[in-house]
Amino acid sequence: MRKKFTILIGGEAGQGVAKTSLLFGKAFSRLGYYVFIYRDYPSLIRGGHNFDVITISNEPVFSQEDNYDLIIALDQNTINLHQENSKNGGFIIGNVGFGARQNRKIINLDLQKIISKIKGASSVFNNDILAGYLFKYFGLPLNPLLKASKDEFGGKQLLEKTIKKGYNLAKTEKKLFEPSSKRGKYFLSGSQAVGSGAIAAGIDIYIAYPITPATPVLHFLAARQAENNFSVLQLENEIAVANTALGASFGGAMTMIGTSGAGLSLMSEAMSMQGMSEIPLVVYLSQRTGPATGVPTYSSQGDLDLILNIGHGEFPRIVVAPGDPNETFLRTIEAFYLAYKYRLLSLLVLDKHLSESYFSFDKIDRPSVKPKRNILQKPPEDYKSYKIAKNGISPRAVPGQGPVVRATSYEHDEYGYTIEDQKTAVAMNNKRFAKLAYLKKEIDNLNPVSTYGRGKNLVIGWGSTKGAIIDSLPALPGVKFLQISYLSPFPARKVKQEIQRASNVILVENNVTGLLGKLIAQETGYQIKNKVLKYDSRPFSAGDVIKGVKKYIK
């Protein structure tokens, strides 16, 4: 039977909310539990209110819960803001002096007194005392917690001491349910999956300018460049990032850049340059709430139109949007594989919710493709950078190999010289679009759509809503979920098939106007009338999906 235990941990920025939830996540995952962590933080460095919601289960869990069994309060404000959502029978733990409504159980620990007995410790260790305390409280062994702490924060003696102190203070009051029997789980975020996917794909250079929520990939890769012999560059602005990346890829490096919507807007001209020059490029986008600066540390799926249309002029592109970290790992590798095989732009699209949430999986799936730079071993003396081939893919060479290699923003002939005549302009446009037919066939073999559950009611979604929708299915009998992972080229035939099999279609999207719905109408002719749209800058919970979808179920 499915069992869940949900913890909210909250406090001011800088009090260690994210650190503690990671510690729990890793430790519980090691113990064999499935864990999902949702992170909620405002745009500030110190103060304010951050909270993480950690759901622990004996069965897979992919989304955050709305109500909590336990609230770990690093400040009084956490209790004030969240006790409303504390479950019956739930409890709160916090410092001495913290208070809750009368009917809420609260455990007060005199953290200052406890800390004062540990030499060298200060209030920054409050959360570690609580972590140790809770592990004992639930009758869990200490070692997985210490090991997680060592993995995440290094083997700091003081940290270990503090966790042990908290552990020894507590008595086991309540046994947590048994974990799943499967051991060796993987616990990772979407950002970590993008970074790992890039490394597995064989990345040579990653370039970015800091922006929430894409920055974790910049940090992840920067920390791993030395041991893996690739390079991470932070440049002066997004325009430089995108144009430098095109230069790097032209120079022979497998290159990826990363940004969020505001940065992608600035990169628009370079995306167009990619279209004309046919220099392969992978772009990682983590969407946040727009327009403009919007609600910058929160989530949205509002950039779909931008991605599908970015860059002046017409050119084909690949848009792939995974729905969880396991899929993200695979899709990142596919994005490299396709960009470098077809000399195209691959846009890998996540959002804040997927990038920054942590999931556990029993295994990471084996990638089905192996990216290659696809550079000719010995390009011919009379090499043509834009040779017209039947499949539209001109074989790649790079500068330094011998023959002259060209890339250009102008319309050009096969050698890459500037042209203005009509005949060549038509031939080159046809060449660039000839790739599409081959690409579509290839994408058909990469599971561009997936279905979950059975029923005549078809819920359609893309990207990070996957977790909440899958978690909602047990409460929605007669509902089938269609996840669309490739948005360009669009798997129209498969989507149409699913729509035709259903008697009722419901769209679920984290945006204002139902952008996927518009795309489906454009590609299949089918207008979806039933729309569950959420645009309060927060992601769907399973509860939100159930409430929204139920209205339309037939």
Binding site: S196, S231, E236, A248, T255, T418
Partner: protein
């Protein structure tokens, strides 16, 4: 190497007599000398161009070439160098692309000090768009967008490049052809970011030949290129305005050795495409277990 071997057969679309021809020819001579001396290999030369008259050279020199967007010559130059340190990267741009649209890239690439050369055909006018003012047009310049004359003071690119940290800063002019060729050769040989502001009279929209002929002079052989203070003093001797008493120095103002972008970088010391990667994906995800 005969400079004919560095020329393509593409039709030249510069105006008759355009001094960009001289800049292209001087570059070919410089490259040919360097190739003959074995200092540069033709197969490793990459030219990167902006958009505008300066950048039409993309079609005329028979080496690896990248025709970028307006204002964006420097970013792909940096990318190419990062991907393959063995390449000789030379940029061609105009004052519009470098000092207007893409000025941030000039400042930051001067700081990064990657081993590459940027030549700016500074005709102090947007020529290909028919003669509007740029940020280096002199006060009083009249163009179709400024019929009453420009009221702003021009930007001083030599002073700017110096303060931004370029390790090789020069000013040249096709009217002093031999010197231009020598400066280009030295700029390419310099290990670090080389910047040459080339005063290039535009015969159609901004013919400054009479003024330049009267006011240019060459820096003497005893000019100390290692002295930043002296270089800066020389740089502000002329403010790019057209005044009766203007003295316009040509030559290398400043040249010092500093660690380059590649020296500072930990990885990819060789061409990325030669790095064999056989990544075991299971090992990559091991850290999440």
């Amino acid at each position: 190497m005969d400079i004919k071997k560095l020329s393509t057969k593409e039709k030249n679309t510069w105006c008759p007599g355009c001094l960009n021809n001289s800049i292209a020819t001087a570059t070919k001579f410089a490259l040919s000398n360097l190739i003959n001396k074995n200092a540069v290999k033709k197969k490793d030369v990459v030219i990167v161009t902006d958009i505008g008259c300066s950048s039409k050279v993309y079609d005329y020199i028979d080496v690896n070439a990248y025709y970028s967007l307006h204002g964006r010559a420097l970013p792909p130059m940096l990318g190419i160098k990062a991907a393959n340190p063995e390449l000789t990267v030379i940029g061609f741009a105009g004052d519009g692309g470098t000092y207007n649209e893409g000025i941030a890239h000039l400042i930051h690439n001067a700081r990064y000090n990657a081993d590459m050369t940027l030549m700016v055909s500074n005709n102090q006018v947007f020529a290909l768009t028919t003669g509007q003012e740029t940020s280096t047009s002199e006060e009083g310049f009249k163009g179709p967008s400024t019929p009453a004359g420009v009221e702003d003071s021009p930007l001083n690119p030599v002073a700017l490049a110096l303060t931004a940290g370029a390790t090789f800063v020069a000013r040249a002019c096709p009217l002093e052809f031999k010197q231009l060729e020598e400066i280009i050769e030295k700029a390419i040989l310099h290990k670090g970011f080389s910047f040459i502001d080339i005063l290039q009279p535009c015969l159609t929209f901004h013919n400054t030949i009479p003024f330049l002929q009267k006011h240019i002079y060459k820096l003497g052989d005893n000019f100390n290129r290692l002295d930043f203070g002296q270089a800066f003093k020389k740089a502000i001797e002329w403010d790019y305005d057209y005044k009766e008493k203007s003295k316009i120095a040509l030559g290398i103002f400043y040249q010092i050795d500093k660690p380059t972008f590649q020296d500072k970088w930990i990885n990819l010391k060789k061409a990325a495409y030669k790095v064999k990667r056989n990544v075991n994906w299971l090992k990559v995800v091991k850290e999440f277990q």
